[in-house]
Symmetry: D2
Subunit: 342 residues, 4 copies
């Protein structure tokens, strides 16, 4: 049994971690913290967990996190960089679901996140937790930086093309659409039902924080700097990301086959038959990325469609997948629930 | 292992049965039939099942249903009454998720359903599959009539009051709201997104087919005819039923306690603390009914709130619960998934 | 031309007032105030008004509200009671869209609204602005208390029955469902898309502030205290209220005809044919209440269905209707837009 | 007064035409036809029109369409090409809201639409009804081919760039998202609430019928063949199209200014300030296209965001705009309603 703690469990990532971990046979949930809601029963905030999760939120200072084998940080950006080092130094392994350790270039991180980094030494040690790229390093990692939701969908969709060397790496385009839960459980006018429902819009076109993360990931794979235009949109779903990816073909290849081979052994990436259209509900509440490849009218532009549930493969599910890898468990343990459709 | 077949698996009840049964450790899925889609891979119609359900839809005539221990009918009303008897006579046990065997009074059934009943002898033998009422009879039943979605939510909410003898049985009111999946996966204008989204309406106020089913169930419990006004509404959810129940108090009692005692041993009925407001998402995709009891301003009207997922506790989940009972399995087997929230 | 000011224009009621008034031929929009957003162009907050409303939000202190003929208060409860008297004393007429002047019994108001009333003398003078009841008094009113959204739908639906003397006045039941815009443009977790979408729940069952308002209105009509159970629900719509009303028949009558006669001359109340089911979208964005009358199975319980757009006939539209009456304009001026369907 | 008839009024385009025309001061609505619903009162199918539209649907054979000045065809593709010529020859002017006369190359049309064209001679005479391109020709046209919804949003968004000669015309990308009403009021499983709600997907990536229409329009403007990748998506809105357009810069220019100048005199195209993010609700139920221009990080890729209501500027509103031009009315007559927000 892996003894697990969660720091900051009152957001959507936190409650999704709870849902998955409470159904994971090899996990003992030890503690969950919340500064603002200490003392509150978890199941009174999230009645879906009644009778199944008996913990109360604890004050971070009081919680016995050091007795855990693993602590997940499901906190806003900037918290883990301050609180994780003490746990790490005590031998606790950490998965941070926020962005604190994702960007290797600390100066770049500080520019995009608008704060000073307090533990750059741990940035250097952290492993970027995309198992389809870094499985071996994750296995022995002390600190895993769990990828962002957009970066997961976009990198998995572009990766085989970037590796193939057959597309123009200067002008990749990622047109991505996210459900509203991606904005978190924060009281903001722009996330109100009456604002986000029956409405569609782009946001952050001049620059979104997931741009440098995607660029870093794809550039590493390419072995050179890539050029990317990334446009995120808000769409009236609770859960789901749909990335529509465009790349210009520079050399011929069997692109469908390239994708199928790349992910042949991956339990959580599913390549659909050529010309399919995956919908977000086909991955709802499940830890899976489904991808379809198109070459419209046989032209020189490839279109790749990549869908995930932003709270599962895009956050909590991928974190559990990383935990499974870190602790030598079967990678699919606790992650085998079928998507909920309709 | 229970060998299971499904007749009519292309609707929402069918795909939900598949989701639950594919995750049930004691079930072997043998066959699934569809006249119109014979030959189609199940996972090509429902990509959420890719890699997990390898069956193809078979023509009912060709499928080897008689080798099954249990066959679920997830068909439109009027099919099971024609096809189930042959299986029953061959020793296969049957759970009908449609309405064919729910109403004991065949003449009444024929009036409400607008067709002649072709196997009234099986109506007499069928057991009404509401485990919280009929568990013992279900255990040995050859044919179980799985309750309707509204009837499940309304009966579970009214039952303790009716049993208590403390409320006026002449003027029960059930104001119920259903998600659109309750209308099934049928191509009808009234169920289109552009009709049902951002819209709310009552329907069937002059008379809905679930009225006689609820009336029969509550009358049996009361030991006398009860009077019920039942108003269903369509609300822009995919899944979920919320029943708001009104009863006039005729004798004093500790109503909260009456509910808690009645359901103390029920794994799938959860009584919330007094004055709670259960939301439908707290049961989304899970086999559970949550109930709250109110007595506003201490007056003489009780208000009971009862929520279920219409496709789970209101259909496929309850059918699996009945299967577990029929085959001596732990009642929660395969039904222990946590609700998906948000 | 009526010179009009709006105090507190950044909420949904405010922007809906702007939409209606900007299309009203007899209105000159003079000023709109917002303490927090003074200086901001109205059309930058609400791009739907670009090119059509050129005002900026002004600080309340700076705005020349005393030059107006009429000022609408679209403010939170408790603001108008403090700021309206100065305007009233300067001869400006006022329509308050909040609750400050709706409840005649000041002690009762203070109990439900949890604050002390600062201008009880104006409560006494205020006219309750439900034109279908108080048209004559509204005409000459200096101060109109615009009704709440639920109270509009429920009172219009019950009124003919209460007047008729043919139903039990002790046990009226109003089961009402509201779209989320009724909660206002406030950043609250419970109104987030990810909380309110694909979800349905009751709220405020122990007691909602609109209960005393409805009770006061119906009691006045009845000439005696009435008994009412009022259960509001939140449903995933932006706009719309659907009230399902239950009354026990005590004396026979032609109920359909009673409704038709009562509202024969009302431009904004539409009685549907017997046994109809009005949907909320049939009144979306329009100043109209549609009502249908049912007597299920010819029993002794009447069911009345009443729908409005909570932001129009339930708020801003009714306020403009009151303005038209107060200034001798045709009552339908500026309120003749057709509902938006689908 | 323009005497107007509508052929095929039971779809969403038809009811939207009715909403707009019923509020148009210079229009007399003479007849509306429907083969399947002849005899039905329009307001019984669309209760939003109760008391405002008193027509009944008539059989096309019986309706006196030849007495009209203008007939709108709101029919499925392939109807107008058969029925319009008789009216045209009788001197009636026609606006076809379907695709019959949009594509000049009849062979190409037949390939994409899968039927033989029955009146190619009228294709040659028809004027493509995008006022921002063809205003002069529309004025005297006998037959106007009203543009498709995607083509309107995409062409208006790309047009200034194509005219400017400053972008790569070989690799234009249009990633477009549509509300579900774009699929029409047809009973199809894929448009059901339970399929389309809380879900997002691309469709028609291998080839969508609006591709040749957009390509024709932009090629005419460019004076040469352009290369376009067009990917449409279905998003859970009722109304709205959001086109996200990508173009590579080949020559420098002040792109914001280019857009502002191009549309300076257009009443129904609104260029937002640089770096804005128009949302679809800012045009909901109104005849307007809002556009924003971005150049992320000052790179070599331009991003243009273009939003319309698919039923208004994308269909019925543009048809009325064309009617106004054809009959010498002020272009904004009957089209001046403000968007409905929230």
């Amino acid at each position: 049994m892996v003894k697990v703690g969660i720091v900051g469990g009152t957001g959507y990532t936190g409650v999704e971690l709870l849902r998955l971990l409470a159904q994971h046979a090899e996990v003992e949930l030890v503690a969950i913290t919340s500064r603002g809601d200490a003392g509150t029963a978890v199941s009174s905030m999230f009645p879906s967990l009644r009778g199944r999760v008996d913990l109360r939120f604890e004050d971070p200072a009081a919680a016995n996190l050091k007795s855990c084998d693993l602590v997940f940080f499901a906190t806003p950006n900037g918290v883990a960089m301050q609180q994780a080092p003490e746990l790490l130094n005590a031998g606790v392994r950490v998965v941070d679901l926020a962005a604190d350790f994702r960007i290797t270039d600390v100066a770049d991180w500080e520019k995009w996140y608008g704060m000073q980094h307090t533990s750059p030494e741990w940035v250097a040690e952290a492993v970027y937790g995309l198992p389809e790229v870094n499985r071996a390093a994750i296995r022995s990692a002390r600190l895993v930086a769990n990828p962002g939701c957009y970066p997961t969908a976009v990198q998995l969709g572009f990766m085989p093309l970037v590796e193939s060397g057959l597309v123009d790496l200067e002008h990749l385009i990622a047109d991505a659409k996210s459900g509203v839960s991606g904005a978190g459980r924060k009281a903001e006018v722009s996330s109100l039902f009456s604002e986000a429902s029956d409405n569609f819009k782009a946001y952050g076109v001049p620059g979104h924080r997931h741009l440098p993360e995607i660029r870093q990931g794809l550039s590493r794979i390419a072995g050179r700097a890539i050029g990317l235009t990334f446009v995120p949109h808000l769409t009236p779903l609770i859960r789901g990301i749909h990335a529509t990816l465009y790349a210009q073909i520079k050399g011929e290849g069997d692109f469908q086959s390239i994708f199928e081979k790349r992910y042949a052994d991956e339990p959580f990436v599913d390549i659909l038959p050529m010309n399919s259209h995956p919908d977000t509900r086909s991955v709802r509440a499940a830890n899976i990325c489904r991808i379809a490849v198109h070459r419209p009218q046989g032209g020189d532009t490839l279109v790749v469609l990549s869908v995930i549930d932003n709270l599962v493969k895009g956050a909590a599910g991928q974190a559990v997948q990383n935990m499974n890898i870190m602790f030598g468990l079967p990678e699919t343990d606790g992650l085998w629930q079928l998507p909920v459709l309709p």
